[in-house]
């Protein structure tokens, strides 16, 4: 389909989607600022354990490694879904979205289990400044991933019922930006929280 053959209406629609893509990109940049400041807060609070447990005593390297794998693979499977959107292959889009959803759910499950275990050990966010910063930073990321999972379900339903129309494809594109962005935030978390904490 070349530009010359498009109707005025189609061209307008494409323009709207491009504007929305930019708007969503600006939102992500704002989100990046939030995460960066939470990272800075965390880094400053690392020594503030108030006599409580340190990261070394609390963090589990295997758990962090597994979470990293789940999120990274889910980023790739979402990429495969995006490719199938371009190919117009509805069934394959749904299949890759489902796989991405399962991987993301696995990630959230591991994180919730980690949090629950820490709180059960008396190392909840109220124990020390260090733990407040930890739960705020990692929890904010976890909430983002959870929102992403809900979004995947909503768009999966739209793909199933409405098909790969231009608005649905455009929404999937923005969800893709969001999902890949969360994986980038996770790089920061394992590189600043877990790995240095367990060194």
């Amino acid at each position: 389909m070349s530009v010359a053959h498009m109707s005025e209406h189609e061209r307008e629609e494409i323009e709207t989607h491009e504007q929305r893509a930019l708007g969503f990109w600006l939102y992500l940049m704002g989100d990046a600022v939030i995460f960066a400041l939470l990272f800075a807060t965390y880094a400053i609070m690392i020594p503030g354990t108030a006599g409580g447990p340190t990261g070394k005593q609390l963090f589990d390297l295997n758990n962090a490694a597994l979470e990293t794998v789940l999120l990274l693979v889910s980023s790739m499977t979402f990429g495969f879904a995006s490719l199938q959107v371009k190919a117009g292959n509805r069934g394959a889009v749904l299949a890759w979205l489902a796989i991405t959803f399962l991987l993301g759910t696995g990630f959230v499950f591991l994180e919730v289990r980690e949090f629950a275990g820490m709180i059960a050990k008396g190392a909840g966010p109220d124990r020390s400044g260090f733990l407040s910063a930890f739960f705020t930073l990692v929890g904010t990321h976890g909430v983002h991933v959870t929102m992403g999972l809900i979004w995947i379900v909503v768009l999966g339903a739209q793909v199933a019922f409405k098909g790969l129309t231009m608005p649905v494809a455009s929404r999937l594109n923005r969800l893709g930006l969001f999902w890949h962005f969360l994986d980038i935030a996770w790089i920061g978390i394992f590189s600043i929280v877990y790995l240095p904490g367990l060194l």
Partner: protein, 103 residues
């Protein structure tokens, strides 16, 4: 659609994934094995993280300087500057405070 996809294809995601796996595996492996002294390991973790962020931007988010709209690149660079000021400034103030309070 228009011209053939430049770097948006399957290859892009697979290359990005392989690079990301390597850049994650190296720092994790160093922490697992304690193969290097802590200072060096920290350095490697930092470098691998920066490289991996760039890999993700390039291969997953497809940011480049030719097809990405200029506004998006501009917003990204502006965010980078903001982060430098805010995060750098926070560290400056807090560590200065730390040494003045003789903590």
């Amino acid at each position: 659609m228009e011209h053939p996809e430049t770097g948006h294809g399957l290859r892009s995601y697979v290359i990005g994934f392989v690079l990301a796996v390597i850049l994650s595996a190296v720092p994790f492996w160093l922490v697992y094995t304690h193969a290097l002294p802590p200072q060096r390991t920290l350095l490697v973790i930092g470098i691998a993280a920066v490289l991996q962020v760039l890999v993700h931007l390039r291969f997953f988010l497809h940011i480049n300087f030719t097809t990405t709209p200029r506004e998006n690149v501009l917003a990204l660079v502006f965010t980078g500057i903001l982060l430098f000021i805010m995060v750098g400034g926070s560290f400056w103030i807090m560590f200065d405070l730390h040494s003045r309070m003789l903590l």
